[in-house]
């Protein structure tokens, strides 16, 4: 499956894990720090994934000190 990452924007191909939660664990991404977007809609952590999916992992952490 294709995974789109941000900051900087890039794409990687990985074998589809069982679900969103496993994908984040495999990529060592803290779930609280991202949204997972599949086909322009949000995906919950229990959603199943397939090799045909294109998934964006969008960071939500922002901001300077002020």
């Amino acid at each position: 499956m294709r995974v789109v990452l941000r900051n900087p924007k890039r794409e990687i191909d990985v074998p589809a894990p069982r679900n969103v939660s496993h994908l984040l664990r495999d990529l060592e991404i803290v779930p609280e720090a991202v949204l997972v977007i599949r086909n322009d809609t949000l995906a919950t952590h229990d959603e199943r994934l397939s090799d045909d999916d294109v998934v964006e992992i969008r960071p939500v952490t922002s901001g300077g000190a002020a």
Partner: protein, 309 residues
Amino acid sequence: MKCGRCRAPAVIEVRRHNAGYCRECFVRHCGEQVRRAIDHFDMLGPGERVLVAVSGGKDSLGLWQILRELGYDADGLYLGLGIGEYSDESGRYVRAFAAERGWKLLEIDLAAEYGFDVEGGSRSAKRAPCSACGLSKRHIFNDAAIRHGYDVLATGHNLDDEAAVLLGNVLRWETEFLGRQHPVLPAAPGFARKVKPLIRLSERELAAYCVLTNIDYIVEECPMAGGNRHLGYKHTLNEIEERSPGTKAAFVFGFLERAHERFAAEVAEARDELRPCAECGAPTPGDVCAFCRMRARAVGEPIGVRSIS
């Protein structure tokens, strides 16, 4: 996963609330959390004019939309910070957002109005870029709210921002900053009232709100913020939150309920010692405020030669 409210398929889970939400229930949840924060902390009164500081990011654009949907008379304020392509792009997002909705947007350009940008201010004042940026925003937002006659200035600080700032202040026992850390800073001579209506929403909830309501926001991080201490605190707190959902909210709201008052007296004392800046008139503990000192250094002027016009 099902929505905990209506049993429709969920689009997002919020572990802090041990709940999943469908789109409609989640959008309603965001509005309810902002309403609850406004009411609990007495942030806004009926009929008051609100100026929302907007950056093009998810938090400020989300806040502006939620306030308007709750019925508030809210206009936007965008400050161009001169951070290269990043500022150009963030400005485009803000202008498109306001134009699509027909909402009033005030714009100020740091370089055009004050003669320097964030990088120049940072270099000349020997401050970290985020510090120069924060100082400029605090000064100019306050000045704009007063000058344009708004009752209150609203910023998009969310639960994660407040938790990260609180952690930083506690780790270094910044007692004056702890006394000032509150979702409402009341108006005082030279200061507009400032409120943080997003304090009950995490930044993940704000990002989800924007995606679900089709708010197009700048996803890229500010190129100057990378590796700063504040982002490190957020990362640490998110790892703790992952193991123990609800920790960030317990940290922030526990502080506000049980500890803030202990530090508030120090702030009141500091406020009593303020006098008008010799250059701009803003309240300051010295002769010339920190923003005017930074501006003078950045443009190569001696400090204190300008006077209030």
